[in-house]
């Protein structure tokens, strides 16, 4: 395992395999948040005293870190949000509501997370653009051919997860980005599941907009990022109005709003969260994104090999290049399996993983999900396999 000692929550035998839901926090992330609250609490962009200036430096410093982490061109392209969901709602209701017209087409897949589906469904009812779902192949993956097949002269946007939370497939985003460039299509990337696991380069992949949450990359909850290519982001209309985003307003109805990025950050932001996210980025960078990915793939291989030895097990996505594995054990309902594993302090996810259209494609709507991260190890996998070998005990926890 990598750096397991930095995650003290794991010291008492907790086996955490639900990293696609949220991740554990290393000590340095927690310390950076505590330090802000105990040593230099102040608002950002408001004061002329030392602590406030220190906050400004930290807060804007994180913008610079995010910019470098995803290889954006400018800090103006980095907006701090509450997380992916808010980022996607801003993109869709703040930009697409003006950009899209009746009859236009938006391409999604049935494997997308709710936050990359519901805002589109809502807006399409108001505007009348059409949502088309790119067909998934027999392994529930997006192929370049399927994307090409769905592109028409009406296609204005392709909005996809880099890695889906339910299937864990890594989409060919570099090639899709190229297709978007050639066909004058905006490419919206949901990087929620990939940001902490793979190196992302928004320029290389021709990404127009992107959203992610800090808590899936070792950072705190309640904070995330909206990235937008500057010339496009300039046209994103603020959804929230208030302090920090205006330069002037008067009783005759006149108001003037700030330039990017402040324009899109109304009100006091989650300053502690932003600082914690910065610390998480430093941590991930120091470990190395390639090293993290390679380690996860080594663990995944071990997980699949061991899981295959379990009688009556069905694995759904063993070929994917991410740390996500879906499975079912015999005819046991996924939640019964998850509750059984809880007695061994093994945390897995059961259900449909917020991708509620996926059951239209995958035969079973309910699955167990293991999602790995850098602090997991082979011993934990052995314990999971041992527990699942005793299948006749699964329903012992009913009473």
């Amino acid at each position: 395992m990598l750096n397991r000692e930095d995650f003290e929550i794991l010291n008492d035998g907790l086996i955490y395999f639900d990293n696609a839901a949220t991740t554990m926090k290393p000590r340095c992330v927690v310390d950076s948040i505590v330090e802000y609250y105990t040593k230099y609490t102040a608002n950002a962009h408001r004061g002329d005293y030392d602590n406030s200036l220190r906050v400004d430096k930290k807060y804007e410093g994180v913008r610079e870190k995010v910019k470098n982490f995803i290889n954006a061109d400018s800090v103006k392209e980095i907006i701090f949000t509450k997380g992916s969901t808010e980022s996607f709602n801003m993109i869709i209701f703040g930009f697409m509501s003006v950009y899209l017209k009746k009859g236009d087409e938006v391409l999604l897949t049935k494997g997308e997370h709710a936050s990359n589906v519901l805002p589109w469904l809502n807006l399409s009812k108001k505007i009348g653009f059409n949502i088309k779902y790119i067909e998934l192949d027999e392994n529930y993956r997006v192929t370049l051919d399927a994307v090409k097949k769905n592109i028409s002269d009406k296609t204005k946007v392709i909005s996809l997860a880099h890695i889906t939370n339910a299937i864990g497939d890594v989409r060919p985003i570099e090639e899709i980005g190229k297709l978007c460039l050639e066909n004058d299509i905006l490419f919206v990337l949901d990087a929620t599941q990939s940001i902490g696991h793979l190196k992302i380069d928004v320029k290389k992949y021709n990404i127009s907009f992107m959203g992610f949450s800090a808590h899936k990359m070792l950072g705190p909850t309640g904070v995330g990022v909206l990235y937008g290519k500057e010339e496009i982001l300039e046209n994103l209309v603020p959804i929230e109005y208030g302090g920090g985003m205006n330069t002037a307003f008067s009783s005759d109805g006149y108001y003037e709003i700030k330039s990017l990025p402040a324009r899109l950050e109304a009100g006091t932001r989650n300053i502690a969260g932003v600082i914690g996210m910065g610390s998480a980025i430093d941590y991930l960078t120091s470990v190395g994104m390639d090293k993290i990915h390679n380690y996860e793939m080594e663990l995944k291989k071990y997980l699949i090999n061991r899981m295959k030895s379990i009688p009556n097990i069905k694995l759904y996505n063993e070929d994917n290049d991410s740390g996500v594995l879906l499975f079912n054990v015999g005819n046991y309902f996924s939640q019964d399996v998850a509750i059984y594993l809880n007695q061994f302090k093994i945390c897995i996810r059961a259900g449909n993983h917020c991708a509620k259209m996926l059951h239209e494609v995958i035969c079973s709507s309910n699955t167990c999900r293991v999602s790995l991260y850098l602090y997991n190890n082979k011993e934990e996998i052995d314990k999971l396999v041992d527990a699942l070998m005793n299948q006749d005990k699964i329903l012992d926890t009913l009473v």
Binding site: Q335, A350, N366, L395, V399
Partner: protein, 140 residues
């Protein structure tokens, strides 16, 4: 009743549920219920004639507790008047939610009297009752 007996009865109702399968018959009122905190998803259908539950069926995709509780519920409510059914539902909900209840009215449903110890299971046990409540409310 000891825990082992309760577990066996729950398992039996899970593996061999009774009254499973929704009839294609317009005289049945049907309600779908989904558990907001997990993925249980069941349909309950009841034929109510002259203020009495003449027949009640269920179907769906749910965990052991939800499936078995649906099965036991249909057994306990079939043939009851709406007034009797509402009393059973209220007592059952109170039992799951750790409120005072009359165990004599619950029959086999008493096997769920320890579900409260597993908070994540409470909604599973309550789901079938919320469906039949909706049906009763709609006819009253």
């Amino acid at each position: 009743m000891d825990s082992n007996m309760k577990r066996n009865l729950i398992l039996d109702n899970y593996q061999n549920p009774v009254n499973r399968g929704i009839p294609k018959d317009n005289s049945y009122k049907k309600v779908n219920s989904k558990n907001e905190s997990c993925v249980d998803n069941i349909d309950v259908a009841a034929k109510i004639v002259d203020g009495k539950i003449e027949d009640i069926k269920f179907d769906g995709d749910a965990c052991a507790i939800c499936t078995s509780a649906s099965s036991v519920m249909t057994k306990e409510l079939k043939g009851k008047t709406l007034k009797e059914a509402k009393a059973i539902i209220r007592n059952y909900q109170n039992m799951i939610n750790e409120l005072p209840y009359d165990e004599d009215s619950l029959g086999e449903l008493n096997i769920y009297n320890e579900v409260y110890k597993q908070p994540s299971r409470k909604n599973c046990a309550l789901l079938p009752m919320s469906s039949i409540s909706k049906i009763i409310d709609s006819v009253e």
